[in-house]
């Protein structure tokens, strides 16, 4: 027994000695990350470049499995052993910030040639920047060009000034919805139970519904993220309008928003003419779907709005090397370091210079691997639309949003099937919904 103990002690000593020897006069910081071994290898390669590019700082990569990531960070926060910087889930940032665990990053891009987009800045209390996303993403409209050609209808607009109103959108969707006898919802004898091609999918994967609240002049949360206002008439109406696409207009297949697969089940699988989805879907499924697709701007109810979101890169306030950590993150999030994701359409760039006419924008949208070959279309939808209409998702300024969204998903189930109206569902559950963003 004693021998065993002695052996363990020896091992422990050797280990501590090992790390002591690593003291080479440089500042060592850790960057935490999740991802597959291949992704970790790619990240390590980027970090190696950084370590070789200067001799003051050594960045060490720490890979934590995705499913344990948040829990691991939580326990390390308690122990005071958080990494210096790392990635996080969007919807955990404000929770960490509320506990004082994230550094104020307002100075992170000081002196750089370009700043991150305002709409992907996480702000505590709606004001203090506590993190930037590592890239940007917006919600856009995908459509199947062949279905539009077959019906002889003009493609959806790609310019924000030409955006379809909600009613125009429904009209087009009706012309593209076909039942088993070849009839449209506008025709006598249309059979809503045997539809072979649907006109549209407005994805009701819960968090994406927030865009329609803004579009209809409502909100889910107050701007400082302290108050839930999802029971406003505008917001309730926005949800009902989405549900009515299935229930009343018969232009949208029935989904309960229970899984993140709206685009995969619709435009990407060739069963639906138009669908809303994240810009990332260009790279993750549309480019390999074999569908002749185009992209456009979302239709609008009252305001022209799109939501932005993307995974944050944070600097933890426990770090003893805040400046070095921020410098590294600012360097690491440069588009060049993730270019394979950007050129394939999975990510949109983070820095504002890509959203201004010029060389940066052209290297992005004219890249030969970029999935949308029509430069004007890509510029209108991904650049001009982002500049004109981007609004941050609620988790950029509200804590506990994942709990809120989980509850909203179950509350809205009977709305999609028509058992309840949005008004009943929201009002019946408003107290419980509002409680999710508080501490209990």
């Amino acid at each position: 027994m004693k021998k065993l103990l002695a052996m363990l002690l020896c091992i422990a000593m050797v280990l501590t000695l090992g790390s002591a020897l690593a003291e080479d006069g440089k500042v060592h910081i850790t960057y935490s990350y999740w991802g597959t071994p291949e992704e970790a290898a790619a990240t390590q390669a980027v970090i190696d470049t950084y370590n070789a590019s200067q001799d003051g700082v050594v960045v060490e990569l720490e890979t934590i499995p995705n499913e344990q990531y948040t829990a691991t960070l939580q326990s390390r926060a308690i122990a005071g052993t958080l990494p210096d910087c790392g990635i996080m889930n969007e919807n955990g940032v404000l929770d960490f910030a509320a506990n004082g665990l994230l550094a104020d990053v307002s100075g992170m891009y000081e002196g750089k040639d370009s700043q991150p987009l305002e709409a992907v800045t996480f702000k505590e209390g709606g004001t203090t920047p506590v993190a930037y996303s590592g890239c940007a993403e917006t919600l856009i409209l995908y459509y199947n060009k062949d279905m539009f050609d077959a019906a002889g209808i003009a493609y959806p607009p790609s310019k924000v000034e030409d955006a379809w109103s909600w009613d125009e959108f429904i009209d087009v969707a009706k012309q593209l919805t076909i039942d088993v006898n070849g009839k449209h919802p506008t025709e006598e004898g249309f059979d809503p139970d045997n539809i072979t091609q649907y006109g549209c999918v407005v994805d009701n994967w819960t968090w994406q519904l927030e865009v329609w609240a803004h579009s209809n002049g409502g909100r889910w949360f107050s701007e400082d993220g302290t108050e839930c206002v999802i029971n406003s008439p505008e917001t309730i109406e926005s949800i009902q309008k989405v549900a009515d696409l299935t229930l009343v207009e018969h232009v949208q297949p029935l989904y309960l928003g229970l899984a993140d697969e709206g685009i995969i089940r619709s435009v990407a699988s060739g069963t639906v003419a138009m669908a809303t989805g994240g810009a990332w879907n260009m790279g993750t499924c549309m480019s390999t779907s074999g569908i002749n697709f185009g992209i456009g701007v979302l239709p609008y109810m009252k305001e022209k709005v799109t939501l932005t979101t993307a995974g944050p890169q944070v600097v933890f306030s426990q770090s003893k090397h805040l400046k070095e950590a921020m410098d590294f993150i600012a360097w690491y999030t440069q588009e060049e370091n993730s270019w394979n994701l950007i050129e394939t359409g999975v990510w949109m760039p983070l820095l504002q210079k890509y959203y201004e006419e010029g060389e940066a924008m052209d290297t992005w949208l004219k890249d030969e691997d970029f999935p949308v070959k029509d430069y004007d279309m890509a510029k209108s939808v991904l650049v001009d639309y982002t500049n004109a209409a981007a609004t941050p998702t609620c988790w950029y300024y509200t804590p506990h949003t994942s709990e809120f969204i989980d509850m909203l998903r179950s509350v809205l189930s009977p709305v999609w099937t028509g058992e309840q109206t949005a008004e009943q569902a929201i009002n019946d559950n408003f107290d419980a919904l509002a409680e999710t963003i508080t501490d209990f």
């Binding site: 929770d95 506990n99 665990l101 139970d193 229970l258 089940r265 189930s413």
Partner: protein, 302 residues
């Protein structure tokens, strides 16, 4: 007896035994018993995983049973799922095992076929089933409409979703089939031969010999599948996100959501876990209590 003097060899053996057991004891206590204890303690704290835990007495439990919007739905859904899944998989795997135990052609192939689902990655299995079950374009609904029926909301209708998910679990019960097969092969042939000589037909032999001999195996399989079904998590995580409504917000999934989807209500989730532990305990005890009425152990008359 108590003061029996131990021999040197005896002491040496005891020490060796302890040393051999040490790794598993350490492992068990570090990753099972201490966390289990911690869960019960944490249930009395308000703790988000980031700030210091704050003792709140029974507040978590009180909220759980008076105010929580999910708790009762969740218990109902979990128990309902477990009952359907356990009964379904026991009957299904017993029948398959009996068929595979006969001299059917290509028996090895069929044994592999029925075991295969069990070794497939869960994510792939559930994704595949979600396409079968899809309301708008799914294969099952295609068959139903082709046959002249009207479409079924397998995953969208709160009244059907639990049996739909339980069916996947039944389909996945290849491990039970293997255990049943092993059990069937252990039913002594001499009993069958004796009964055959006495003129018992196949049906009588099944009910009077095979079934009684199999009851310990059935009991074991029921116990294992009951515990694993009560802990069901993957279907809600991959297919339904707990919906429609709360109809598939199973307790494990509820705990996961409270604890780990960033809100970090770890104390509160621990309180649910403690209640869940008691629920599993009750069901296991019920099963054990009934076992003496229907489980027969061969040669147990001594």
């Amino acid at each position: 007896m108590a003061k029996r003097k131990r021999t040197k060899i005896g002491r040496g053996e005891t020490r060796a035994a302890w040393i051999c057991m040490l790794p598993s004891l350490l492992g068990l206590s570090l990753v099972t018993y201490i966390p289990l204890l911690a869960v019960f303690v944490l249930g009395f704290f308000k703790w988000n995983g980031l700030s210091d835990p704050e003792f709140v007495g029974f507040a978590n439990f009180v909220r759980l049973f008076t105010k929580d919007p999910y708790m009762f739905d969740s218990i109902k859904a979990t128990v309902y799922f477990a009952l359907v899944a356990v009964i379904g998989s026991i009957i299904f795997s017993m029948i398959v095992a009996i068929l595979l135990n006969r001299k059917v052609p290509a028996r090895g192939f069929f044994r592999a076929v029925f075991y295969l689902p069990y070794v497939l990655p869960a994510m792939a299995v559930y994704l595949g089933w979600s396409w079968l079950y899809d309301y708008n374009h799914g294969f099952l609904n295609y068959l139903i409409t082709e046959a002249g029926g009207s479409r079924v909301m397998f995953l969208e209708n709160p009244a059907i979703v639990v049996p739909s998910l339980a069916l996947i679990t039944v389909w996945l019960s290849g491990n039970l089939i293997v255990v049943f097969l092993a059990g069937l092969q252990n039913v002594p042939r001499i009993y069958h031969e004796a009964a055959e000589i006495d003129g018992a037909n196949a049906w009588q032999r099944f009910w009077k010999i095979t079934m009684p001999c199999m009851t310990p195996i059935i009991f074991y399989n029921m116990l294992m599948s009951l515990i694993s079904s009560l802990q069901v998590f993957v279907p809600s995580f991959t297919l339904t996100s707990g919906g429609p409504g709360n109809s598939t917000t199973f307790l494990s999934y509820l705990i996961y959501r409270y604890a780990f989807t960033a809100s970090g209500r770890l104390g509160y989730a621990s309180a649910i876990a403690a209640v869940f532990f008691v629920i599993i305990g009750i069901f296991t005890m019920i099963l054990f209590a009934t076992s003496k009425f229907w489980v027969f152990y061969m040669g147990g008359d001594e």
